[in-house]
C-alpha cells in the first residue's frame, strides 16, 4: 500500500511496539452489535480490549469546545453509568468525548475509544495520558490501518462505529450542524435510542441538543433515566445522595447555594451576596477546603457532587 504513512506530527506517533490486533468480521470476537448492521467495516484494528457483547453500552458524544457545564455533565454521567456496569463508548476527541472517557475511568469502568486514525496514533496529541490509560485499562478501536493519519473524512465514518457499538447514544453538548448530530442520526438509522442533555436556551452549544429534544429524543435529566431505559436497576438505593453530610456554616451555605454547575464568578457572588470581597473569598476558600466546590478556572467555581 503506497499511502501516506509518513504522518509525523509532533508527539502523535506512538512507539511501534504496541500490540495491535486485526479482527475480521469472520472472527468470533468481532462485536455482535456491528455484525448485525449494514455498512460496517470488514475488520477492526484493536489495541487493548473490545466491548463485551453481553454488557450494556452507552455512547457519550458532544462538542469538542465544550463548556465547563457540558464537560462536568459528561464526566458525571459517564461515572454514574460506569458504576452501574455500563460500558462507555466515545471518540477520544477534545471536550465531551475526553471527559466521558475520564469519568468512566474514574469509576473504574470499561471504556472504549473509537478513533478516526490508526490505533497507534494519538490524536489529539494532548490526550496522550488519556490514550495510554484507554490502551491499558480499556480499548482503542479503529477501522483504519495502523499508521493512518487522522483525516477529516474519517471522522464521520467512525461515528457510525461509535453509535453501532452502543445500545444508547447520549449527546451532551452540540452546536447546530455538529458532528455529534451525525452520530445521533446514524444511531436512529441503526435503531438505537438517542438521549440529549438539555442546555440553556440561547447558548450556541445547546442548539443541537434542544433540536434533538424537539425531534423526540429522550431527555437525559439524570443518569438514572438512562439506566432505566437500559433496563438496569440500581440495587443500592440512596447511597449516592446523602452519603456526605458536611455541616456548613450559615455564610458558607449562602454562598454554596449560589454556586451550581454553571461556573460562578467571584464578582457575581460579591454582587449577589452584597458582602465585601474579602468575606466572599474567605468563604469560597473554606468551601473549597471542605471539598464542596471546585475552582475550574481562576475565580470561577462549580459544585462538586
Amino acid at each position: 500500500m503506497e499511502r501516506e504513512n509518513t504522518y509525523n506530527r509532533r508527539n502523535t506517533t506512538v512507539n511501534e511496539k504496541i500490540c495491535i490486533e486485526y479482527i475480521p468480521q469472520e472472527d468470533v470476537r468481532y462485536p455482535k452489535r456491528l455484525r448485525l448492521l449494514p455498512g460496517m467495516p470488514r475488520g477492526l484494528y484493536v489495541c487493548g480490549r473490545l466491548p463485551q457483547d453481553g454488557c450494556p453500552s452507552v455512547a457519550i458524544v458532544g462538542a469538542r469546545s465544550a463548556s465547563v457545564y457540558g464537560s462536568e455533565t459528561a464526566r458525571r454521567f459517564a461515572r454514574k453509568l460506569a458504576e452501574a456496569g455500563v460500558q462507555i463508548i466515545s471518540g477520544m476527541a477534545w471536550g465531551i468525548d475526553g471527559k466521558a472517557h475520564e469519568g468512566a475511568l474514574e469509576a473504574g469502568g470499561d471504556t472504549f475509544g473509537v478513533l478516526g486514525s490508526g490505533v497507534d496514533i494519538c490524536y489529539p496529541a494532548g490526550h496522550r495520558r488519556l490514550y495510554e490509560r484507554l490502551r491499558t485499562e480499556g480499548g482503542l478501536i479503529s477501522e483504519q490501518p495502523p499508521g493512518m493519519p487522522p483525516k477529516p473524512g474519517h471522522f464521520p465514518a467512525r461515528n457510525r462505529i461509535i453509535s453501532g457499538l452502543a445500545d444508547l447514544v447520549l449527546v451532551v453538548e452540540a452546536r447546530e450542524r455538529s458532528g455529534s448530530l451525525i452520530t445521533a442520526d446514524l444511531a436512529l438509522e441503526q435503531g438505537k435510542d438517542v438521549f440529549a442533555v438539555p442546555g440553556r436556551i440561547g447558548d450556541e452549544l445547546s442548539r443541537g441538543c434542544l433540536n434533538l429534544l424537539k425531534q423526540g429524543a429522550g431527555l437525559a435529566d439524570c443518569p438514572e433515566t438512562l439506566l432505566e431505559c437500559l433496563g438496569i436497576r440500581l440495587d443500592s438505593e440512596g447511597d449516592g445522595t446523602d452519603e456526605r453530610k458536611i455541616v456548613l456554616a450559615k455564610d458558607e451555605n449562602i454562598v454554596y447555594s449560589l454556586i451550581r454547575l454553571q461556573p460562578a464568578g467571584l464578582d457575581d457572588l460579591v454582587q449577589n451576596t452584597g458582602w465585601p470581597v474579602q468575606k466572599v473569598m474567605t468563604v469560597l476558600t473554606g468551601l473549597q477546603l471542605k471539598g464542596c466546590i471546585r475552582e475550574v478556572r481562576k475565580n470561577y467555581y462549580i459544585r462538586t457532587d
Partner: protein, 511 residues
C-alpha cells in the same frame, strides 16, 4: 594660553569627571580635539567656533588644541559644547582664569550661541557635589532638574552671551541660581482614579493587596474587560515617592533623556507599559550607548505587561533576575553596568487566543489550543506572580450605574498604613516589602499559629500547592494582615490569600 574647566561624561547612569583643557598657541591655524571622542563630540569644534563667531568673538588664526581627560573614558553626547566654549574663552583671556575653578559645565550649543538641553544633568550635579564644586552651569531647560541637589548652586544658561556674563561675574551668576521647588505632596498629580472603575470588586481588591506588599499581579480576562484600566490606576494607590526614591527615579529618566518640560524631579510613581513587540534589550537595557531599559524606567513603580503571552520568550526570561534581586546587571564589551529595577510587575492576558474562553457562545478554542496559548508563559515566570485574578466582563447595568466607588485616596490611605507596618518590621533587613521576603526569613516574619498551621496543611493537600506556592500564599497573607493592621496572620487572611493564589499549570486548563 592654557586653561581648563570641569565637566562630566555620563556612561550608563553614572557621571564621571572630565577635565576640558584648551590651549591656544602660535602655529598653523587649526582646531584639534583629542581624548577618545565619539563623532558627535568631535563635531563640537565646528559648533563652538561658529557660535563664538556669531556672538562676536572670532577665534584668532592660531593653533587651538582641546583635550578631554581622562583620555581612557569614552566621551559621548553633545554635553561638552558648553565647557569647550568656556575653556576657549578662558584661554583667550576673556574670562579670568580664576573664575573657572569650582565650576562644572555641561550643555549643547547651537550655531547662533543658543544653549540646548542635554540628558543626565541630575547625576552631573550629584557628581559636582561629590567633587566639591559649588556651582554648575547647565542649559536653562535642565536647571530645575539640577536644582534638586541643594548643596550646589545651579544656574541655567540660555545663550553663550549669558555664559560669558556669568563667568565674568560669578557673583551675578550664582545669584541667578535656581532653587528646587519645595517637596510638597502632589496627590492630585494623577489624571486617573480608582473611583472610575465600576464593579470588578475582585480585581480591585487584588490590586490593593498587590500594592500594599509590592506583590506581582496577573490579571486574566477578555478583551475590554478593564485589565488595562485597573493596571493604570495601581500607581495612584501607591504611597507617593520619598525624596530619595524620587532622586533614584529621576536619575534613570535623566540618563535616558526622558525628563521633558524641565519640571525637575519626578514626583509620581512611574507606570511603564511597553508594547509586546519589545526586544529583550529594550526591556533590560542596552543599545549602542548603554542606557537603562523599561524595567529600570519602571523602578519604584509599576511595569505593566499587557498581552503577556505575546511577549517574546527571551524578553520575558530577562525579567527573572531583576524580579529576584531588584537590579539588572548588563555586561557588554565596554564595561559592566548596574541599573536599578525594583518594580512591581503587573501583567494581563486573555484566557485564550480569541479572548472569550469561558463564554462558549463566542469562543471555539479547543482545550489543546488554550493550553498551548497559556503554555507560552514559562513556569518560572508564573512562579513569581503572587496574586492572580480573573477580570470578568462587566454587564451594562454595572457599567452605567455611578455608584460610590472608593477613590484612590481612600485606598492609598490603607496601603500607606500597610507600608509603614512593613517599614517598622523590616527596619534592619535588606528588603522593604513582604513580596521581597526571602524564603529563609518567612518562618521568622510570618509565624503561623497552630490553627493556621492546620489550615495550611489542609490547603497544601487539598489544593495541591507547591512549596513555592505555599510561600507566596503566606507572604500574601502577611500583606492582608498588614492591611488590617494585625500583628498576627489569622485564618481568614490565609484563606483570602489562597483565593487569590496563582493557579498551578495543571489547573490552567481546567483538567
Amino acid at each position: 594660553m592654557f586653561s581648563s574647566v570641569m565637566s562630566a561624561a555620563v556612561l550608563g547612569m553614572e557621571a564621571y569627571p572630565v577635565q576640558v583643557e584648551a590651549d591656544i598657541c602660535d602655529g598653523l591655524p587649526m582646531f584639534c580635539m583629542v581624548g577618545d571622542l565619539s563623532p558627535e563630540v568631535r563635531e563640537a569644534a565646528d559648533r563652538v567656533r561658529t557660535a563664538l563667531r556669531n556672538t562676536g568673538i572670532p577665534l584668532p588664526p592660531k593653533r587651538v588644541t582641546v583635550n578631554l581627560s581622562p583620555a581612557y573614558i569614552r566621551k559621548m553626547g553633545t554635553r561638552f559644547d558648553l565647557p569647550i566654549a568656556a575653556a576657549l574663552l578662558a584661554a583667550l583671556g576673556i574670562i579670568p582664569p580664576e573664575h573657572t575653578s569650582g565650576v562644572l559645565l555641561a550643555g549643547e550649543m547651537g550655531l547662533n550661541g543658543r544653549v540646548r538641553p542635554v540628558s543626565g544633568i541630575l547625576q552631573t550635579v550629584m557628581l559636582a557635589r561629590d567633587l566639591g564644586c559649588s556651582w554648575c552651569l547647565v542649559p536653562e531647560e535642565n536647571a530645575l532638574e539640577g536644582a534638586a541637589i541643594p548643596e550646589v548652586a545651579v544656574t541655567g544658561v540660555g545663550t553663550l552671551k549669558e555664559l560669558l556674563g556669568y563667568m565674568k561675574d560669578p557673583r551675578k551668576g550664582k545669584a541667578r541660581a535656581r532653587t528646587g521647588g519645595g517637596w510638597e505632596d502632589l496627590s492630585g498629580a494623577y489624571s486617573v482614579d480608582f473611583c472610575e472603575v465600576n464593579a470588578q470588586e475582585g480585581a480591585k481588591r487584588a490590586a490593593e493587596i498587590a500594592a500594599a506588599g509590592m506583590h506581582n499581579l496577573l490579571m486574566v480576562g477578555s478583551p475590554g474587560a478593564g485589565k488595562t484600566m485597573i493596571a493604570r490606576r495601581i500607581p495612584t494607590i501607591l504611597p507617593p515617592l520619598t525624596r530619595e526614591e524620587s532622586l533614584e527615579v529621576t536619575r534613570v529618566y535623566s540618563a535616558c533623556g526622558l525628563l521633558n518640560g524641565g519640571k525637575g524631579l519626578i514626583r509620581v510613581r512611574p507606570f511603564r507599559s511597553p508594547h509586546h513587540t519589545i526586544s529583550a534589550n529594550a526591556l533590560a537595557g542596552g543599545g549602542r550607548r548603554i542606557l537603562p531599559g523599561e524595567i529600570s524606567l519602571a523602578n519604584r513603580g509599576v511595569l505593566f505587561l499587557d498581552e503577556l503571552p505575546e511577549f517574546s520568550r527571551r524578553a520575558l526570561e530577562t525579567l527573572r533576575q531583576p524580579l529576584e534581586e531588584g537590579v539588572i546587571q548588563i555586561s557588554r564589551a565596554d564595561g559592566k553596568y548596574t541599573f536599578p529595577a525594583r518594580f512591581q510587575l503587573v501583567a494581563a492576558m486573555n484566557p485564550c487566543k480569541c479572548g472569550y474562553y469561558p463564554d462558549r457562545s463566542r469562543c471555539r478554542c479547543l482545550p489543546g489550543e488554550i493550553r498551548r496559548y497559556l503554555g507560552r508563559i514559562s513556569g518560572p515566570l508564573l512562579d513569581r506572580m503572587d496574586l492572580c485574578t480573573e477580570v470578568p466582563r462587566v454587564d451594562y447595568q454595572s457599567l452605567v450605574t455611578t455608584g460610590e466607588n472608593e477613590s484612590s485616596r481612600v485606598i492609598r490611605g490603607r496601603v500607606e498604613a500597610a507600608w509603614s507596618m512593613q517599614r517598622d518590621r523590616y527596619r534592619e533587613c535588606g528588603w522593604q516589602f513582604n513580596a521581597h521576603l526571602p524564603a529563609r526569613a518567612i518562618r521568622e516574619y510570618c509565624a503561623l499559629g497552630r490553627q493556621e498551621e492546620r489550615l495550611m496543611e489542609t490547603a497544601f493537600e487539598k489544593l495541591e500547592l507547591s512549596v513555592r506556592a505555599y510561600h507566596r500564599v503566606v507572604k500574601t497573607a502577611r500583606t492582608i494582615a498588614d492591611l488590617e493592621g494585625e500583628k498576627k496572620i489569622r485564618e481568614h487572611h490565609l484563606m483570602e490569600a489562597l483565593g487569590f493564589r496563582m493557579l498551578d499549570r495543571k489547573l490552567w486548563d481546567g483538567e
